[in-house]
Symmetry: C2
Amino acid sequence: MNKIFVEKWKSQVKKGTLTFIVLNVLRNNEFYGYEFIEEVKKLTKIEIAEGTFYPLMNRLKKEDLVTSKWVEQESGIPRKYFTLTETGKNTLKKMQNYWEDLASSIKKISE
Amino acid sequence: MNKIFVEKWKSQVKKGTLTFIVLNVLRNNEFYGYEFIEEVKKLTKIEIAEGTFYPLMNRLKKEDLVTSKWVEQESGIPRKYFTLTETGKNTLKKMQNYWEDLASSIKKISE
DNA sequence: AATAATACATTGTTATACTATGTATTTTGT
DNA sequence: ACAAAATACATAGTATAACAATGTATTATT
C-alpha cells in the first residue's frame, strides 16, 4: 500500500519484461526454478518472486513456449527443468525485434 | 481475447514503460495530450491509446510528477498542456538509473 | 453534407507481478 | 542435537495499468 512511486513503477516495468528475460535466459540453457531465480538475480540484479515465477512458467507452458521435465536428485527434492520449444525460440525473436526498437527509442528520447 | 501472444506481451511491456516515456518526453518540452500521442508515435513507433494516456496523466498529476494548465485557442477546443514538476524530474532520474541497468542486463543476456 | 481529424475524457475488461502462505527436504550454525 | 536458514515447488488473493469501446464537441477536408 505504501510503496513509493518508483518501487511500484519497477514492479510494473517487470510486466512483460520478465517473460522476455525468462525466454532469453532459457535460450541457451536449461534451468530449474530456484536456480533460475538465483541466476537472474546475479546476472541482472532483478529479484523474481517465486509467486511470480511459477505461475509465469505455467503460462509459458500453456502457450507452448517452454516445456519442463522433472529430474530426480540423488538427495533432496526433485527439480523441474525448463527448456525453450521451437515456438518459444521463434516467439523470442519477434520479441527481441520489438525490444530493440523500444530500447533504442527510449535511449533517443532520454538524451 | 484472441490477440496472439506477442501482441499481448507488447501491451504488458508498455506497463511502466509508458510512464517512463511520458516523463522523458516531458523533460524538455511542454505537450498537450493529442500532440503528445502523435509525437511519441513519430519518435518511437509506439501507439498510445487515448484511453491509456489520459488516465495515466491523471495518475501522474495525483502523484505530483506533472502539472497541467488549460490553454485557450484562437479557434478550436482548448488544450491541456502538461509539464514536469521538480518531483517529476527527480523521480525520472531514479527511473533512468533502473532502466539503464535493466536495458544493459537484457542486452547482456540476449547476446 | 458527410467524413475525418483534432481534443479531452470515462467505464469496464484483461493480464500479470506481488504478498502471503503452504509443503517438504537438506544444510548450516551454535 | 536442535534451530534456523536455505533449497525447491506451488497456489490464492490483491493491486495496478494498458486497452477497447464509447462519449462529447469543434474544425478541416472532400
